[in-house]
């Protein structure tokens, strides 16, 4: 595992197979897709930032990299992807073996280029707040204070705008000093850019440019007309604060048997069009704060009648939700518009009920937006997350904008697609595979919003059909990837990060060992989770459990060590050994067992899964559990009900929730107040240790997880029990040890699962 982590540290890449199966057939038999999870903006210490433009291959546009073959005499370099010979330009004339440009240093397989000021202006990021007002006063109060805090933290140069909505959409003209002023749009209609241009008087006194206008200053909008709505944070802080301060509940009356009329879709449409008019192509985020379901206009998810419940997974399965597909279609359109403009949609959904995250997912995910789901605007999950977005600290998000991601690969490797927060630019090339998964059919993707943790899952297709004969020459065993990410850095300037990797093929008999040696089971688990989620959303009648089981069995069957038909002989190499456990937990996870959650929650979990790196994904799939006791230092323990003991404290990190679980005795002692008595400092420390560790996790995680502190047998203990392997249940033969616990479930335990797996893996049928 260590070497994979090292590789990740260097380039931000994890691959399921670090040694590639050499032919299409081999790849298929490997079961787990050849894929990589790449974190384009992973902070990597010592990555040089070169103040000049990269040198590109004139054939395939790949960038000069350490794997290029350089002829110092002839001043020529050979592109490793297409083998094109390229001359160095004049400014590289002094190149020699002793005088290499940084991009040729072998250790700089990942490197950044920064546009110099002449090549591109620095544009400040834009934040457009879109705020729901259909809430009870208390929630509005929470939201106001959170927003006020956010306003304070806004980067000075950034531009800010404000839209509020309820029955109608109000675009606040912050640049109008005399009165609070806002444009009011009907909640039942989408607003196109053309309408915004016309209705908000952007072209008064100027001839309108010919049709097909994109707008923005380049197309003749005056800076003043834009500055009516988007102002530097430093200039409009006062106005913004006073408008926020005066925010009131939507004034339109709501009958007692109805939901508030809330036009989330129209508001987002207005916001998108406004940004499209004002700042097309430059970094901007729409930050939507939504406190309930949309009931009005486009994107409505439920009717206003309270007697009609909001759709559940069951309803979705039955297809009895007419509004759902209409809303999804609307948000798909919105996402296209946003992607076209390069703008991000962030969603802060805080309500006890669902608000429509499931419908909005497409728009948020394709634009690389952030999503936070909480029960209330007063909840720390929301408040702290919002603060984290703007606060600069060692863990800041490094929000970047307007990224474009491109891939170059050696011949015979193609890209099926990306599962992650990006949108296909539909740039189909020789590199695009016929088989498509996620955002495919292209070799370039738009990432309107990306940050340090944004991780893309690229799924590859091995196109090579050659037999083993081709594999003789060592050179041809090597092949290359180049990941290029152009983006607007959070400081404003445009950058390009280039990561170039080399891997090798193996084929033929005996290649199994080599393949296994290159298998990254954590990455594989993360990829399997993304793939299964994707399939569940897109394929009708898909049975995820069955699919996962079959995949696992086939994998074990291919790579396990066993004698046919002899389950007891089965063993797995350490490279594979915990993979079944990941699959066991994945089967039980919220990603697969969706019926315990609302569609909104599922959408939320999946969006997080799809944007996090391997480590965090693994935590989501299989939470980590640490035990604290007097007997030993804190130690990770098995995610099993047997970990529970009366004199232990458990810290469960399931990514979205962190649970501090006090064993019965610990809880009694704590309730008796020993921790504050002299002589019991050790107990105080014991109590404190998991809290500190939880805080450490919380501090670096975004969105901020929910912290649950509970005691054994308390009601909140369910947050822990739900995640544990039910090795002891109410009908187990062996009772739990004293102080232990049982889980009331009929789910199979891991042991039973493994038994079945072994039995099936050794069957002939699966090999």
């Amino acid at each position: 595992m260590k070497e994979f982590l090292d590789l990740e540290a260097q380039d931000g890449v994890r691959m399921t197979w670090n040694v590639f199966p050499g032919a299409k057939q081999d790849a298929v038999s490997c079961v787990i897709p050849v894929a990589s999870i790449y974190t384009p903006l992973k902070p990597i210490p010592n990555v040089p930032v070169l103040p000049y433009s990269p040198l590109r291959c004139r054939m395939c546009r790949a960038i000069l990299n350490p794997f290029s073959i350089v002829d110092y005499i002839a001043k020529i370099w050979i592109c490793p992807f297409c083998f094109q010979r390229n001359h160095f330009p004049q400014n590289y004339s002094s190149i020699s073996e002793d005088n290499l440009p940084a991009e040729l240093f072998p250790q700089y397989s990942t490197i950044e280029y920064e546009s110099n000021p002449e090549t591109g202006p620095t544009v400040p990021p834009v934040f457009l707040f879109v705020v729901d007002t259909c809430m009870i006063e208390e929630e509005i109060g929470f939201l106001k204070s959170a927003l006020a805090q956010a306003v304070e933290l806004l980067p000075e140069k950034s531009l800010v705008g404000l839209i509020t909505f309820g029955t109608y959409v109000q675009v606040h003209e912050l640049g109008f000093g005399l009165l609070p002023k806002s444009y009011v749009f009907k909640g039942t209609k989408e607003a196109t850019k053309e309408q915004i241009l016309e209705q908000m008087c952007f072209f008064t006194r100027k001839p309108r440019p010919a049709v097909g206008v994109i707008a923005g200053t380049r197309d003749g909008l005056s800076a003043e007309s834009i500055a009516r709505f988007l102002l530097p944070a430093s200039e409009c802080e006062f106005v913004l604060n006073s408008v926020i301060e005066e925010l009131q509940k939507d004034p339109w009356p709501v009958p007692a048997d109805q939901r508030a009329s809330r036009c989330t879709g129209a508001a987002l449409s207005v916001a998108a069009s406004l940004l499209g008019v004002c700042v097309p192509g430059s970094g901007a985020r729409i930050m939507a704060f939504v406190g309930g379901p949309s009931t009005e206009g486009p994107g409505a998810i439920v009717s206003k009648t309270l007697s009609e419940p909001i759709r559940s997974h069951k309803d979705l399965d039955k297809g009895s939700v007419p509004l759902y597909s209409k809303a999804v279609k609307f948000y798909e359109g919105l996402s296209k518009q946003l992607v076209h403009q390069g703008h991000v949609l962030d969603l802060f959904a805080c309500a006890l009920d669902q608000v429509g995250v499931a419908e909005m997912k497409v728009a948020v995910e394709r634009t690389g937006g952030i999503v936070v789901l909480a029960e209330s605007f007063g909840h720390s999950v929301f408040k702290d997350s919002l603060r984290r977005i703007f606060q600069s600290s060692e863990h800041d998000l490094g929000l970047s904008f307007n990224g474009v991601f491109e891939v170059n690969c050696s011949k015979d490797v193609k890209v099926q697609g990306i599962i992650g927060p990006c949108a296909s630019l539909e740039k189909k090339g020789p590199l695009s595979s016929e088989t498509v998964i996620g955002q495919g059919n292209t070799s370039a993707w738009k990432m309107c919003g990306l940050d340090r943790k944004t991780s893309l899952c690229l799924v590859f297709d091995i196109a090579r059909k050659d037999g083993p004969d081709a594999i003789g020459q060592p050179t041809s065993n090597q092949f290359y990837f180049q990941f290029l990410t152009y983006y607007q850095h959070h400081e404003g300037q445009m950058r390009l990060r280039a990561t170039t990797l080399s891997r090798r093929w193996v084929a033929g008999p005996g290649s199994v060992q080599e393949l296994v040696a290159g298998f990254d089971q954590e990455a594989a688990a993360a990829v399997m989770a993304r793939v299964v989620s994707f399939k569940m959303e897109t394929e009708a009648d898909f049975d995820p459990v069955r699919w996962l089981d079959r995949s696992l069995i086939r994998l074990c069957s291919k790579f396990g060590d066993y004698q046919k038909e002899s389950p007891s002989s089965f063993s797995l190499s350490p490279r594979l050994s915990i993979f079944p456990q990941f699959m066991f937990n994945l089967r039980r996870s919220q990603f697969v067992q969706v019926f315990n959650n609302s569609p909104d929650e599922t959408a939320y979990f999946r969006m997080m899964l799809d944007r996090e790196n391997v480590n965090n994904a693994v935590v989501m799939i299989q939470p980590s559990l640490i035990s604290y006791s007097f007997h030993s230092a804190p130690e990770p323990v098995l995610l099993d009900v047997t970990a529970i003991a009366a004199d232990r404290i458990l810290l469960l990190d399931s990514y979205f929730t962190i649970v501090v679980f006090h064993g019965m005795s610990i809880a009694q002692w704590r309730n008796a107040g020993y921790q504050s008595q002299p002589g019991h400092e050790a107990f105080a420390q014991l109590l404190q240790a998991p809290r500190d560790d939880a805080d450490a996790i919380i501090k670096e995680r975004f969105p901020v997880p929910r912290l649950v502190i509970c005691d054994q047998h308390g009601s909140q203990a369910r947050f822990l029990l739900a995640k544990l392997n039910p090795s002891v249940t109410y009908n187990s033969d062996n009772p739990p040890p004293h102080g232990g616990d049982v889980i009331f479930t009929d789910d199979v335990s891991f042991q039973v699962f493994m038994d079945h797996l072994q039995r099936l893996a050794v069957q002939q049928a699966y090999s």
Binding site: Y168, Q170, E173, F176, L178, L179, P180, K181, S182, Y183, V184, F185, K186, K189, Q195, Q199, M200, C201, T204, R205, E246, P251, W252, P253
Partner: protein, 1022 residues
């Protein structure tokens, strides 16, 4: 004008004889001479001294002629009531056996009709019998020497006519024309009994020029209408305010006004012919007291004084004629009779007309929960003409004849006279007009609050011309005149290509501005708080009004979304209804840019009409203030106010200098005048007649009723009738107008206005009791209604034909045999030709006007009252330069009106002409710099803008002029838009276009017109 007399006067003695010979309708030979004398009366040179009768109807005729009269002895000092004059008339009368029944005092006998059998009556002069007038027109040739210019030439001196005629004594009909006899003359008498004087005017014969003799009408000195401004109920203030000090009120007008507004009208007629002859308003300040009903019987003689005169009404059974009057004071028994007369049968209903200050207020009757007593069949309201029978146990409805049970609570015994014993104690049984408290049954919801929503154009044009600032200032000042109390609510919005609402309900915070950008599909941004009780938002509102002009200072939006804006305003007030006041400057985006010219007088499309009907259904009344400098398509826009009971105010071309004061005063009067909301009106009439049509500013959704989201003291509704059965001679025809409305203080009321008129089978009665002003107003409205749909030339022809047909009918059926050479006019309608001429030369019927001006005229006329209709067409002109030399008070200054003929304009004179809307000040090119200095503060008018702000300087002339102007404003309830017209410049030409008696390129002179009319009648008779 006072001077002029001489010329015309020249009496043509020669004529005199003729008259005699003539078979005048008015028979007396003797009359002729008399008539002359009468004429004199009119003429008294020193106007002051002379009684002026301003009477409406003057018979008179031709242009030239007045002559004779004056010369007559009496001339000089026809003292007031002077006996002499009387005499003559008397004589005349006598002979005239006109049908005219003898009237007791008030009566005007009506001259013309000989036939009527018993001339019994009027032997005496005293009674004001009016004489019919005959004129003899000289035919054809007006071309003769004189003709051409009678008017012009005429100047001062003497008889222009005379001279020429040399050849022909009479009009020269040199040529072929046989000549008609001398003009017959008409004697006529003056009548007002009460009036001391009567100026009988003799008929005279027309001078060579065509005309006929004309008689001076008899006028009665009319009470001066002037009163009304004063009459406004106390709370109301009149708009007339000096520019500079807008807030100050002028002192109340003198209670009795000495002059009658319509004096102006009068003069017109005769002037041409002989300025001296023109009857003038009487200086007397006495006001006629008119009892609406005498005894318990309909009395044919009880004809109300002319609408434009000054009178005090005593409601003794019929309603005040201010509230409702009929085109004729006898109702023809049959439809045939009516059509024979060619006269219109219509009521002018002005339910909130301002009373004279000394009249009793309308009484309020509360029947408690049962509501007002009504006929159970036709639902007519109890009124003095319902007959109680059977010891009071039953009453018979005077409208449908149904016999109703009297409810026990309302029972009362009858007295020996057959009336209920309590009749005099119950207003509903003894007053023509009462108000009932409406019960729940009359409400579909709680009475609405008084809601005022202001909508202001802030597009670039409006801002730059100062229109926005003017509107804001006006509103800001006017809000203090809104009715007090929690029931008063206000809202405001501005608009350019988008609509901006303001949330005013934000204690201690600035108003919130909410923009509705989607003008294709408008909506209100809030459901509440856009319209807020005035008490809660006054400060915010004032502050906002102050800042609006600044806020939009640099607005670059050129379009204004008028249609969307009113729609949005409407939506904001939809739930309550109320008044929507729109201040619009720019061209509305919704109006199609170009239309064919002839279609422009019709609304461009149905959108506005549809919208307007929706507004009316929700009780929203729209008033539009057009402060514009461009074409705005009033034809389209005015549909909205005219359907919702509102009106259009037009300031073109808008001047930031002179118009804000008018804007303010108009707005102020608009909100402070007596008015009602969410009204429904129905007019019922006795069986035998039925309502044919309503006309005015309202919305009609069911055939019988009209809906008036707003109704106020300035609005008049015309109701025409047709026969569906016969009446018995001697019976009465009753009219009842019931207006259900909500007061500005939120009380629901029913105002019931009753009029019962005698029926007659005699055509002569109809002519004798014809009401000129009312008939003329009816013609005016008819013309206005047809302008949008008929070519102008046809409308003019129609109007001329109406006049001809009536006169023809009179000539044919009522006038005694006479030579065909005489033009004979019924006394009551003697001004009809002049008014008709003025009408076909008015802005609305002229070919050369701007489309918007014409459309405005049409929309203005639609709701115009009788009182203002006459001056609109036949304005009042007075001279200003000689004010200081006169000692009279304002009122008599005002009554010294000049005929509308350029003959009366001197190069060294300054004249004021006013029609209730505009005031034109005409300055001759020889006016002394001193006078200019006194009046305008400059010694030369070069560079003085035409849109005048009349300042008051510290000198007698300036003060007097200002007083007079303010007096006019008060009288008209309208702040005149003053305009400076200079001789020899386009503005001077504009002024001259009001000289309706002049010959114009496209129109006849007055004299020519009479000839034309006469010829047409002759043709018909032949």
């Amino acid at each position: 004008m006072a001077s002029a007399p001489p010329g015309p006067q020249r009496p043509r003695p020669p004529f005199i004889p003729n008259p005699n010979t003539n078979t005048n309708p008015n028979p007396n030979p003797s009359s002729l001479p008399d008539s002359f004398q009468n004429l004199q009366i009119g003429r008294p040179p020193p106007p002051s001294a002379v009684p002026r009768g301003v009477a409406p109807p003057l018979p008179f005729s031709s242009a030239a002629p007045r002559p004779a009269a004056f010369p007559a002895g009496p001339g000089p000092a026809p003292s007031v009531a002077a006996a002499p004059p009387m005499g003559p008339p008397g004589l005349i009368r006598a002979p005239l056996p006109s049908a005219a029944p003898p009237q007791s005092h008030v009566v005007r006998p009506f001259p013309g009709s000989p036939p009527a059998g018993a001339p019994s009556s009027q032997p005496f002069a005293a009674p004001p019998p009016t004489a019919p007038q005959t004129f003899s027109v000289l035919p054809p040739q007006s071309s003769g020497p004189f003709t051409g210019n009678p008017a012009l030439a005429g100047p001062p001196n003497s008889q222009p006519y005379m001279a020429p005629p040399s050849s022909q004594p009479f009009f020269g009909t040199p040529s072929s024309q046989p000549f008609r006899g001398p003009p017959s003359s008409q004697p006529f008498s003056r009548l007002p009994s009460s009036q001391p004087f009567m100026g009988p005017q003799p008929p005279f014969s027309g001078p060579p020029a065509s005309t006929a003799p004309f008689g001076a009408p008899a006028w009665q000195p009319q009470p001066r209408p002037g009163a009304f401004p004063g009459s406004v109920p106390p709370p109301v203030r009149m708009p007339g305010i000096p520019l500079n000090a807008q807030n100050q009120m002028m002192p109340p007008p003198p209670p009795a006004m000495g002059y009658s507004p319509h004096a102006g009208t009068q003069m017109s007629t005769p002037l041409k012919i002989d300025p001296n002859q023109i009857p003038r308003p009487m200086p007397t300040s006495s006001v006629v007291v008119f009892e609406t009903r005498q005894g318990n019987q309909a009395n044919a003689a009880n004809v109300p004084p002319p609408a434009t005169s000054d009178f005090v009404v005593k409601d003794t059974g019929n309603c005040s004629p201010r509230l409702m009057r009929c085109t004729m004071n006898h109702i023809p028994c049959t439809g045939d009779l009516l059509s024979t007369s060619s006269m219109p049968l219509a009521l002018m209903v002005q339910p909130f007309a301002l009373p004279h200050p000394s009249e009793e207020p309308i009484q309020l009757v509360d029947f408690g929960e049962t509501g007002p007593i009504r006929c159970s069949r036709c639902k007519a309201y109890i009124n003095p003409f319902m007959r109680f029978i059977d010891q009071g146990r039953r009453f018979v409805c005077n409208l449908c004849g149904f016999s109703n049970e009297t409810s026990r609570d309302y029972m009362c015994n009858l007295g020996p006279d057959g009336r209920r014993r309590d009749a005099d104690d119950r207003p509903e049984l003894c007053r023509g007009t009462v108000e009932f408290v409406a019960t729940k049954e009359f409400m579909v919801r709680e009475p609405m609050p008084a809601v005022y929503f202001f909508l202001i154009d802030v597009s670039m044009n409006a801002i730059q011309t100062g229109a926005t600032a003017a509107a804001c200032t006006a509103i800001s000042q006017a809000i203090s005149d809104l009715p007090e109390g929690p029931q008063t609510m206000v809202g405001i919005a501005t608009f350019d290509s988008t609509i901006h609402f303001y949330n005013l309900k934000r204690a201690s915070q600035q108003p919130l501005m909410l923009i509705v950008p989607d003008v294709q599909d408008v909506y209100t941004p809030l459901q509440t708080d856009l319209i807020v009780p005035l008490t809660e938002c006054r400060q915010n509102l004032e502050q906002l009004l102050e800042s609006i002009p600044n806020m939009f200072e640099s607005n670059k939006v050129a379009e204004s979304a008028f249609g969307a804006a009113i729609k949005a305003g409407f939506l904001a007030m939809k739930s309550t209804g109320g008044k929507l006041m729109v201040f619009q400057s720019g061209v509305s985006m919704e109006v199609p840019f170009f239309c064919e010219a002839h279609k422009l007088l019709q609304p461009a499309d149905k959108t506005f009409k549809t919208m307007a009907i929706e507004f009316a259904e929700c009780q929203v009344c729209v008033d539009i203030f057009l402060t514009t400098q461009t074409f705005v398509d009033i034809a389209s826009i005015s549909v909205v106010p005219s359907t919702t009971g509102g009106q259009v105010y037009y300031y073109y071309p808008f001047s930031a200098l002179s118009d804000p004061a008018k804007l303010y005063n108009d707005l102020r009067w608009n909100i402070s005048r007596p008015q009602g909301f969410e009204a429904v009106m129905r007019v019922r009439c006795s069986q035998g007649l039925q309502v044919q049509e309503y006309s005015g500013n309202f919305c009609k959704r069911v055939p019988t009723d009209i809906d008036l989201p707003g109704i106020d003291s300035d609005k008049t509704i015309m109701v025409t009738f047709k026969h569906d059965d016969k009446f018995q001679e001697g019976s009465e025809c009753a009219f009842q107008c019931a207006l259900l409305y909500t007061t500005v203080y939120g009380q629901r009321r029913i105002r019931v206005i009753n009029l019962s008129l005698p029926c007659t089978n005699m055509l002569s009665n109809l002519f004798r009791s014809a009401d000129l002003d009312t008939q003329f107003t009816s013609f005016l409205k008819q013309a206005a209604n047809s302008i949008p749909i008929t070519p102008l030339s046809q409308v003019r022809e129609q109007i001329t034909n109406l006049c001809i047909n009536i006169l023809h009918s009179y000539r044919k059926f009522c006038a005694s045999v006479s030579s065909s050479g005489q033009l004979i006019l019924p006394e009551a309608l003697k001004l009809l030709p002049l008014y008709t001429l003025a009408l076909i030369k008015s802005i609305g019927l002229r070919n050369d006007g701007r489309l918007d001006d014409r459309s405005y005229w049409v929309s203005h006329v639609a709701s115009l009252s009788i009182l203002l209709a006459v001056p609109l067409v036949y304005p009042r002109m007075i001279s200003l330069h000689d004010f200081t030399s006169k000692e009279d008070d304002d009122i008599s200054l005002l009554s010294a009106t000049l005929p509308l003929s350029s003959e009366h304009l001197n190069d060294d004179g300054i004249y004021l002409l006013e029609n209730g809307e505009d005031g034109l000040i005409y300055v001759g090119n020889m006016v002394s710099p001193d006078t200019l200095q006194h009046l305008f503060g400059v010694s030369s008018l070069d560079g003085v803008p035409n849109q005048l702000v009349l300042q008051q300087f510290d000198n007698d002339l300036s003060q007097k002029v200002n007083e007079v102007v303010n007096e006019i404003r008060r009288q008209r309830c309208s702040y005149l838009r003053l305009r400076l017209c200079r001789k020899g410049d386009p503005s001077g030409m504009f002024f001259l276009s009001y000289m309706v008696e002049d010959k114009t390129p496209g129109g006849l002179s007055y004299v020519e017109f009479l000839v034309h009319v006469h010829r047409q009648i002759q043709t018909k008779i032949a």
